[in-house]
C-alpha cells in the first residue's frame, strides 16, 4: 500500500458497498490475504451478509472491483458503536482492511479507509478508530490517523 506507483483515477477504481453476489468475485480469497479465512458455503455467506445488512448504516463493508478482471482487489469494513458517553455519541470501528497483492501502490487502501471514515462521519460519529500492527502505522498516519492506545486480546480458540 505504500510503494511508489501512482494513484489512479476514481472512475477506474470506484469504491462501492459489498453486494450479495460478490462471493463470486473473489471476496473470500481477498480476505485470505489478511488472516485466517476458512472457506464458507454460499448459504453461510448469504446468511452472514443478510445479518450484517440488517444493521443498515450501522455496518458497512466496501470493496473495489477491478473493471477488467471483475475481481475484487480491496475491501474494508466499519461498524458504528452507539454509546452513552459523549452525549449518547457514536464511534466508528474500522476492521479488515486488505488490498490484493497485485494491486499494491495504487492507493486503494487509502481510498477504502477514507470511504469508511467518511461513512462514520456521515452517521454522526465523533471519532473513528482501528487497530493495526506497528508495520502499518505509517500507512494509517497518511490517512489522517494518530496512535492513541494499545490493543489487548484474549483468545478463546
Amino acid at each position: 500500500m505504500q510503494n511508489s506507483k501512482h494513484s489512479t483515477d476514481g472512475e477506474t477504481y470506484r469504491v462501492r458497498k459489498l453486494e450479495i453476489t460478490d462471493k463470486n468475485k473473489g471476496f473470500m480469497e481477498l480476505l485470505q490475504q489478511l488472516t485466517v479465512c476458512d472457506p464458507v458455503t454460499d448459504d453461510e455467506f448469504q446468511n452472514r451478509f443478510k445479518e450484517l445488512e440488517s444493521y443498515g448504516d450501522d455496518h458497512m463493508i466496501c470493496v473495489i472491483e477491478d473493471a477488467t478482471s471483475s475481481k475484487l482487489i480491496a475491501t474494508g469494513s466499519v461498524f458504528i458503536e452507539k454509546k452513552f458517553i459523549r452525549g449518547c455519541g457514536k464511534v466508528g470501528h474500522i476492521e479488515d482492511i486488505v488490498v490484493d497483492s497485485s494491486a499494491r501502490g495504487l492507493q486503494l487502501g487509502k481510498k477504502v479507509v477514507n470511504f469508511l471514515a467518511d461513512h462514520a462521519r456521515s452517521t454522526g460519529c465523533y471519532k473513528v478508530i482501528l487497530d493495526c500492527s506497528a508495520d502499518n502505522k505509517a500507512f494509517y498516519e497518511k490517512c489522517g490517523f494518530k496512535e492513541k492506545e494499545i490493543q489487548m486480546v484474549k483468545y478463546f480458540v
Copy 2:
C-alpha cells in the same frame, strides 16, 4: 483497580445487565469518571437503551450496584462483531470499563471484564479485544489479556 484491598464475595457485588431504570442509580455519573460524558435527558437515555437492547445478545452493558447505597459502582460493555473471516467468525469488543473511585481495590473491574469476556465466549466469539492506555495494561494482563496491536484514532470533532 489494583490496590491492596481484598476482594469481596460475589453476592455483595453481583454483576447484572444494565436496566432502563439505571439512569436513576448514577449510571451517567459513573461514566463521567471515565471520559467526557455530557448529561443526557431521560428520553435520550431511554432511546439509546432501546436501540442497544434491539441488538439482543450482540450488545451488552453490565453494571455492579452497591446494595447499601443503591448506586452503580462499576460498568462495562461488549458488542459482538460479525465477520466473514475465520469461517464467518465473531469478535467481542469490550468498551467503557469504569469502577467508581470509592470502590477501587475490590476487584470489581476484573469481575466486570470477566463477565463481558464470558458473554463474548458464550456467543461464539473466537476472541475478545479492547483498547487501553499503557497505564492499564497490567490490569488487563491480570484479566488474561495480552498486548497485540496499536490503536489509531481520527477525531471528527
